[in-house]
């Protein structure tokens, strides 16, 4: 076990943690770690089951189904980030959270920007048949 202490000697110098980093020595027991992951798995399974259930049910207002599925997906992504990748809002996690925030910004710009631009393009474009007529 002396080996272990030698390896971990450097890891407690700064208390900032990388995503997925092992916890500082003595912070949590193995049982607590396992319980944490099991809780994450249970939440993820619950949200997945909810997504499939919402998809098949008639209890939810029809036009709201797509939005409900999107919300469930985002919630499950959050669960994965917190329980498996260990991205938290703790002050020692600032770098990772800032990088994540920037990533989310770019993802939103790409996805919603593309949908927005293409929707307007479709809306304003001359229908294909009319275009063919004009070229004759």
């Amino acid at each position: 076990m002396s080996n272990k202490h030698e390896f971990d000697a450097g890891s407690n110098v700064g208390v900032d943690r990388a995503p997925g980093a092992e916890s500082a020595a003595g912070e949590r027991t193995l049982g607590q770690e396992v319980r944490g992951y099991a809780l994450g798995l249970a939440l993820a399974v619950g949200l997945t089951a909810a997504s499939f259930w919402v998809r098949g049910t008639t209890l939810v207002y029809g036009p709201g189904l797509a939005l409900a599925l999107l919300v469930l997906a985002v919630a499950q992504m959050g669960i994965h980030l917190i329980f498996f990748l260990h991205i938290t809002t703790a002050p020692d996690n600032e770098n990772n959270v800032l990088a994540l925030a920037f990533g989310v910004l770019i993802v939103c710009l790409i996805v919603f920007g593309s949908l927005w631009v293409m929707e307007h393009l479709n809306h304003n474009m001359v229908p294909m048949q009319d275009l063919m007529q004009m070229q004759r």
């Binding site: 080996n3 272990k4 390896f7 450097g10 890891s11 110098v13 700064g14 208390v15 900032d16 943690r17 990388a18 995503p19 997925g20 980093a21 092992e22 193995l30 770690e33 396992v34 992951y37 099991a38 994450g40 798995l41 993820a44 399974v45 997945t48 997504s51 499939f52 919402v54 998809r55 029809g62 036009p63 189904l65 797509a66 939005l67 599925l69 999107l70 469930l72 997906a73 499950q76 992504m77 994965h80 980030l81 498996f84 990748l85 002050p91 020692d92 770098n95 990772n96 990088a99 994540l100 920037f102 990533g103 770019i106 993802v107 790409i110 996805v111 920007g113 593309s114 949908l115 293409m118």
Partner: protein, 228 residues
């Protein structure tokens, strides 16, 4: 003037100027008196940046799928093609493999060779089951004349889901080398850093899959009139 007078009074919430900004543990973060972050932190942060760039690439494929979704060129639509039971099975495999990967990282933390190998083998087998299900689905689609060249919708579908499948396949190869390295070289620090990157990669792939099964399969197969 003695140095004593320069010190902050003891009732101040912070210590002296040298410990300003220090946390409850008395460590100074950043490149101050605490020194640079340990290599494990730097490695994890760098790989996290790579993963975010990978996620941004996937977001472009998601955007292409969303834009091209209705352009079926008179061919089969998502409702006619996708089998949600297969998607549920794939999801179960990937979710279970994410959990076994987390168990492997705990076993590595405990320096337990047996449990590390068992957890990694379980992760690999579940990942292999996922890939098998996906390849069967692709083969079935292509045999029904719904290959990637059929329509813009199917091109974007195969690009998005296929790109995720390629990532999982690469992850399986990486997983195999990690098992071999833990077995042959033990729990050396550099190998544990590689494993940290691998576990981040594997968990991130599951996050991408959450987006795929929710938006491509579940929203994609909603009846036409319920789509936004």
């Amino acid at each position: 003037m003695s140095t004593e007078a320069l010190r902050t009074p003891p009732d101040s919430p912070h210590g002296g100027p040298h410990t300003a900004g220090a946390d409850a543990f008395g460590h100074v973060t950043g490149h101050g008196a605490g020194g640079p972050a340990p290599k494990r932190i730097v490695v994890g942060y760098g790989f996290w940046i790579f993963l975010l760039s990978d996620v941004i690439m996937f977001s472009a494929f998601f955007a292409a799928y969303a834009v091209l979704f209705k352009n079926t060129a008179g061919g089969p639509t998502a409702q006619q093609l996708f089998d949600l039971r297969n998607t549920a099975a794939e999801t179960a495999c990937l979710l279970a493999s994410t959990f076994t990967c987390a168990m492997a990282s705990l076993a590595v933390g405990e320096r337990n060779q047996t449990w590390t190998q068992i957890a990694l083998l379980a992760t690999g087998l579940l990942g292999l089951a996922f890939i098998t299900l996906e390849i069967r689905e692709f083969a079935s689609l292509i045999s029904r004349g719904a290959g990637p060249s059929r329509s813009a919708f199917l091109s974007s579908f195969f690009t998005l889901v296929g790109c995720h499948g390629v990532h999982v396949t690469a992850g399986l190869l990486w997983l195999g080398t990690m098992m071999a390295q833990f077995y042959a070289k033990g729990f050396r620090q550099d190998i544990r850093h590689r494993f940290l990157c691998f576990s981040l990669f594997w968990h991130a792939l599951d996050i991408i899959w959450v987006g795929i099964f929710s938006l491509v399969y579940l929203v994609g197969t909603l009846p036409q009139e319920l789509l936004p």
